[in-house]
């Protein structure tokens, strides 16, 4: 089963002729992901890695049956690319692009909701269902199929935790990078619900960081709706206030969004919080046994 990315996934890569787009298309294909089409306006008719390139997503969808788009389009044009995918009828859009203006995201989010199209990201590493397919840029070799669902705002920190799980012989059902921006398409709560409903998932890892209040909202949701064990890690206990820590969304502002308040929120609802990333795998091993 897994979530979001399954055997039914058929991927169209927007921005496939670019450096990152073509590189990761190769890796996605090598992992066994059915990449069926690429899109770069003006470059229709070409091929990349043996995959047909179209001028529009609509054409790509009509001719190949693609149902999932992954976006490597540069930031100034990425919001439009997301809307194009949503209008062309794909069900899931995964935006890898970093640096999309906040106002662009504020503008397109209500449109996506209206159309019922799910966006993951932007500024995220994508989605990995080990052994099935990967949509995005996560390194395939560190994953192994298993019962743990992973949700994270950070790329490399996800890899760190996943690699530790895999080393312990604990596999993952699906790992979802939700992105480090202040405005993102899919949030903890959406994915907690999906993992709760997924029979392949027995425990959930939630990796948060400073900035915003989504972790607090997730804690409240876990208290009311989640029966599966959840283990969390929150990065940024040592982060100074009012400083952006790499991710556009990782900033403690007006005293809000500290790691401490997030950790307190999780602990208050019985979620085990790892003190350091390495501890996540230990805590998961405990809750699974």
């Amino acid at each position: 089963m897994a979530i979001l990315v399954t055997e039914a996934t058929r991927v169209v890569v927007q921005g496939i002729t670019g450096r990152d787009g073509s590189f990761h298309t190769r890796l996605m294909k090598a992992y066994g992901t059915p990449v069926v089409a690429g899109v770069t306006p003006g470059k229709g008719g070409q091929e990349v890695e043996g995959i047909p390139v179209f001028d529009t997503v609509r054409e790509a969808v009509e001719q190949t049956g693609a149902n999932t788009s992954v976006i490597f389009v540069p930031a100034p044009f990425a919001a439009d690319a997301i809307l194009e995918a949503a209008s062309a009828g794909v069900e899931l859009v995964v935006a890898i692009t970093e640096g999309i203006p906040v106002h662009d995201m504020l503008r397109i989010m209500p449109i996506l909701r209206e159309k019922g199209v799910r966006l993951v990201g932007p500024n995220c590493p994508g989605i990995m269902t080990p052994g099935v397919a990967k949509v995005g840029i996560m390194p395939g070799q560190i994953f192994t199929p298993g019962p743990v669902g992973v949700i994270s705002r950070s790329g490399t920190l996800t890899y760190e935790v996943v690699a530790a799980l895999t080393r312990k012989g604990i596999g993952q059902s699906t790992a979802v990078g939700i992105g480090g921006d202040p405005i993102i398409g899919t949030r903890y709560i959406d994915l907690l619900k999906m993992f709760e409903d997924d029979p392949d998932t027995r425990a959930i890892v939630l990796i948060g960081e400073i900035g915003g209040t989504d972790e607090q909202d997730a804690a409240a949701y876990i208290r009311d709706h989640i029966t599966k064990p959840v283990v969390a890690f929150v990065a940024g206990r040592t982060a100074p206030p009012e400083k952006r820590m790499g991710h556009a969304g990782a900033i403690i502002s007006g005293g809000e969004g500290t790691a401490e308040e997030k950790i307190r929120a999780f602990e208050a609802v019985g979620v085990k919080v790892a003190a350091i990333p390495a501890e996540v795998a230990d805590l998961i091993a405990e809750v699974l046994s």
């Binding site: 405005i183 990065a235 350091i276």
Partner: protein, 385 residues
């Protein structure tokens, strides 16, 4: 990017917003000229610094005569506020304040909108008002597609202002505020206080704007306003090199790929009793010139005793990363003298990478896990900083 008072007022004024009259000066001479030009007293002398709490620190003073203004202005220009030397002073015509309001457009992450916030309790910290009596604040999430409708602005304005005529004027101001946020790609446009003066006019007496760095490509004119007097030069230099850097107070320099992992690395150092000297995300690339730049910036702080590299080679191969690092260390050899470098490198081909680093002849300490590396770095830095 933050626009402090004088910049925010300039920008708002250019968008047709009523702002307090004032002149920006850098020294006593300019101050004297500004006073001659304004020809009116009292004036308010306001330190222009990118931190809050100016008033409490003595950075805002009223002066009723030229002599008094010169004396107080001189004093403020020689002040430091929260460690930042005051390099700019705004000389503003004092407004006869009848009442102070708060108006602001803020990014509401939870609701994924811009929210218009107003309060009749202006001139004080709005977060404090929110904590102590939230009923004194009205919030309205505004649709980015439909914008702020006239009637919405009126509804809020009739709540905010007692006087009917004033409310109609205020509604236009709220519209202008939203227009400004939209035009500027701002995540915050705050006018606090918006003042009702003795003539019955509304005027912005203090303002602050936060611009979305990711949208600056659409606003080269705003980018040019970057105030180099107050910009953190190290952070700017790092940004230009494609690095994300924040200086901290500790003695363990951190060099990490990925923002989340970089934050977690700082946390793990602290967990083992050490103090990180910085946040640094070198991004996905291990290009030697990037690593050299990163080391160069980190080592400018003489407090740094140890460097900790924590690299998760996700897609990139670790042996490639190791090659880049060795090249960079060769170039930085003299600067690194006496500063041990702990390296944790994991991912594809990590064993090869570790043996390459170990046999490079460079004084590198290779470790296997993030926690082990942090412990080692803390130990080498002499325990708790």
């Amino acid at each position: 990017m933050k626009l402090i008072e004088y910049q925010a007022k300039e920008v708002l004024s250019s968008l047709g917003f009523p702002v307090q009259t004032g002149i920006l000066v850098h020294n006593e001479e300019e101050l004297a000229r500004a006073l001659d030009q304004l020809q009116t007293y009292p004036v308010v002398l306001k330190a222009q610094v990118p931190v809050g709490g100016r008033g409490k620190a003595g950075g805002i003073k009223l002066a009723s005569t030229r002599e008094e203004a010169l004396e107080k202005g001189r004093a403020i220009l020689s002040m430091e506020i929260k460690g930042i030397p005051v390099r700019k002073l705004l000389v503003a015509v004092a407004v006869d304040i009848q009442k102070e309001y708060y108006t602001g457009i803020v990014l509401d992450r939870r609701n994924q909108t811009l929210t218009l916030m107003v309060s009749p309790e202006g001139g004080v910290d709005i977060e404090e008002v929110a904590r102590t009596h939230p009923e004194a604040i009205q919030k309205l999430p505004v649709s980015m597609r439909d914008g702020l409708a006239d009637f919405q602005a009126r509804e809020l304005a009739f709540w905010l202002f007692d006087d009917r005529k004033l409310a109609l004027k205020g509604a236009r101001i709220l519209k202008a505020l939203f227009h400004a946020a939209r035009t500027l790609d701002a995540t915050l446009v705050e006018i606090n206080p918006l003042v009702l003066d003795a003539q019955g006019e509304l005027v912005a007496v203090d303002a602050k704007i936060l611009l979305d760095d990711n949208a600056l490509f659409r606003h080269p004119d705003l980018e040019r306003r970057r105030d180099m007097d107050y910009e953190n030069r190290e952070e700017l230099e790092a940004r230009e090199a494609g690095l994300s850097f924040v200086r901290l107070d500790g003695n363990i320099g951190c060099c990490v790929n990925g923002a989340g992992l970089a934050m977690a690395t700082m946390d793990v150092i602290k967990y083992y009793g050490g103090e990180p000297a910085n946040f640094l995300d070198i991004g996905g690339s291990s290009r030697p010139e990037k690593v050299v730049k990163a080391l160069d910036i980190i080592l400018r702080d003489p407090r740094v005793k140890v460097i900790y590299f924590n690299i998760f080679g996700g897609i990139t191969r670790c042996d490639d990363v190791a090659r880049g690092l060795i090249q960079a260390f060769e170039q930085m050899k003299t600067k690194l003298e006496g500063k041990p470098v702990v390296i944790r490198l994991t991912g594809t081909n990590e064993a090869e990478a570790r043996s390459m680093l170990a046999s490079s002849g460079l004084p590198l300490i290779t470790v296997e896990t993030m926690a082990e590396g942090a412990q080692k770095a803390v130990e080498l830095a002499g325990g708790t900083a």
